[in-house]
Amino acid sequence: MEASQATTTENPNPNPNPNPGRNLNSISSSSPVWPTIDGSLGLSEEESLSYARRFYNFGFLLLPLLWAVNCFYFWPVLRHSRSFPRIHYYVLRSAVGFIVFTALLSSWALTFAIGGERLFGPVWDQLVMYNLAEKVGLTSWS
């Protein structure tokens, strides 16, 4: 019997799943069988597709962190894009969306923080969080 030594969780060897022709090669085969970062503990390929699609769609509700989790979770897909073409479609777009959103948000936040009152005038005092929290009364446990 072919005993294979699984050294990484991402490369389980006998694969019961829809990726034929990749078994037998245990130690760090070039293309992974599992699309998730959890390897054999994660999802199978069909479920991964639905998860990736759902994460991608929900991320449009102002949830860039969900896109980031999508990229993190399906990191093997980003690295080996040819093995999982359908999942790669969603994960790539999630990555792009996350980067764009983060760039926009951080540029706004940095402008706000560095510009301060000089740039914004009295509006700055109204927008900054600690003043707002004090006005609304959130800063004490009451």
């Binding site: 019997m1 072919e2 005993a3 294979s4 030594q5 699984a6 050294t7 969780t9 389980p12 060897n13 006998p14 694969n15 019961p16 799943n17 998730t36 970062i37 959890d38 054999s40 503990l41 994660g42 999802l43 479920e47 998860y51 102002l62 949830l63 860039p64 962190l65 969900l66 989790v69 993190f72 979770y73 948000l105 706004w108 936040a109 706000f112 923080a113 301060g116 927008l127 900054v128 969080m129 600690y130 707002l132 929290a133 004090e134 959130l138 800063t139 004490s140 446990w141 009451s142």
Partner: protein
């Protein structure tokens, strides 16, 4: 060409598993200590909650008054927790698992969103971070929603789920450290005793819950921390693992219980050869995976809204020993104890050890409260808690059933706190003053 599988000693696997449980507990405690150190002010803000409903401590009361007041507070709290747990058992008995899941998600959202938001606001005020409200709200919204998804969905990235569970434990524990001092200590001891009773007594709610879950072979929706199962490099392990997982899922579908979306996928059975027999045995062990603790947290969170805290009991998943690692038949038969979760530590269906979130919270509360005095007590209490956790794990290995994880650690922690505060500190200070040691 066959490879000779390298025999693994029990020590290797056991050490790895213990590390995988102790690491998140330590991280949670560390974060709470940091939060407590940063955010303490001289005018200590005390929350009014259900834990202080009977008596609110003032510094001018006599010692005896404080003690009696704290006792009353703790009794009220434990009573509320008992009632809530019984309600949980009832709901689970009536198969309202969906409701429990939604409640758990909702409580996670409240903890992450509101409690997390308040603590973030404290930090912002403390450090004068010039963040504007739009960025803050977007970030908080993201944080809370992804957190809810990670505890809600059974198949989120393991690291994300574990991270969010630790964060939830940390936030709730910080909130608890705001209780008055005497109340906190008496409450900890009371919860340890309650845990002991609820898990071990035949009439205890947690034991009932676990038995219900086992008899129905369902998962309890709750917040439980389950580390990754230790994978062994035995031959065919990966195949076994994969097979086991698929088999388990199919089996669950066949059961059609309708409950259980909260299958912990990480609970893949650990290492064993892929013989169907072991699979069968392994699956025979029910996976009680979530302790209703999660729900408790939820109720806790909800209560927090109205400044009422209900503590839930579950946090501790019963500790089950993983007997699975050695490929020996007798250990497999020992696996028939189920993984009960609820209080204490439990064994996941995969055989990984499970620890309820309540344990995280109360350990961190103890260490956080110790941090409010001095760092010396922090070190002593940390060591005591880890020692208690080790003892509980050994007992788990011995008894192979759900065990409460709170009593040993809390008792050791409280004892060490008072010993350090009243004896060790004097000794160390005097030695240092006289340039003898330290």
């Amino acid at each position: 060409m066959a490879q000779i599988p390298r025999p693994r000693s029990v020590l290797e696997s056991l050490g790895e598993e213990i590390i995988r449980i102790i690491t998140p507990v330590s991280i949670c405690m560390f974060m709470v200590v940091i939060l407590v150190s940063i955010l303490t002010s001289d005018s200590s803000t005390t929350v009014s909650s259900i834990a202080t409903i009977a008596y609110s401590e003032t510094t001018s009361d006599t010692t005896w008054d404080k003690f009696v007041g704290a006792l009353l507070n703790s009794l009220v709290f434990v009573a509320v927790v008992t009632v809530v747990t019984f309600v949980l058992v009832l709901l689970f008995y009536l198969r309202c698992t969906k409701f429990l899941k939604y409640y758990m998600g909702f409580s996670a959202f409240v903890v992450l969103g509101f409690l997390g938001g308040e603590i973030a606001l404290f930090l912002i005020e403390d450090f004068d971070i010039p963040i504007d409200c739009i960025t803050f709200l977007v970030a908080l919204f993201n944080f809370a929603v992804v957190g809810v998804l990670s505890v809600f969905m059974s198949k989120m990235a393991i690291f994300v789920t574990q991270g969010y569970l630790v964060v939830i434990g940390m936030l709730v524990a910080y909130w608890f450290t705001l209780l008055p001092e005497w109340t906190t200590w008496v409450l900890l001891v009371a919860m340890a005793l309650y845990d002991l009773a609820a898990v071990l007594l035949p009439v205890g709610p947690l034991r009932l819950l676990v038995e219900l879950a086992i008899s129905r072979d369902e998962d309890i929706p709750a917040l439980v921390y389950e580390p990754r199962p230790v994978s062994y490099n035995d031959s065919g392990t990966s195949g076994g693992v994969t097979q086991r997982r698929v088999w388990r899922e199919r089996r669950n579908e066949n059961l059609n219980t309708g409950a259980n979306p909260n299958l912990n996928d990480n609970s893949v059975l650990v290492g064993n050869e892929n013989n169907a027999l072991s699979n069968l045995n392994a699956d025979g062990i029910s996976d009680s995976n979530s302790s209703p603790g999660g729900d408790s947290v939820a109720s806790l969170v909800r209560a927090e809204e109205g400044r009422v805290v209900e503590r839930d009991s579950e946090l501790a998943a019963p500790l089950l020993d993983r007997g699975m690692n050695a490929p020996q038949v007798e250990r497999e038969s020992a696996m028939t104890s189920e993984n009960l979760l609820l209080e204490g530590m439990g064994l996941g269906s995969s055989g990984a050890i499970k620890l309820g979130l309540g344990d995280f919270i109360f350990y961190s509360v103890l260490v956080g409260r110790a941090a409010l005095y001095d760092y010396m007590t922090v070190y002593a209490c940390y060591l005591a808690i880890i020692a208690g956790l080790g003892v509980t794990l050994m007992l788990l290995a011995l008894y192979q059933k759900a065990l409460p994880a709170l009593p040993v650690s809390i008792m050791l922690g409280v004892a060490f706190y008072f010993l350090t505060r009243f004896l060790l500190e004097v000794f160390v200070v005097q030695c240092s003053l006289n340039l003898l040691m330290f």
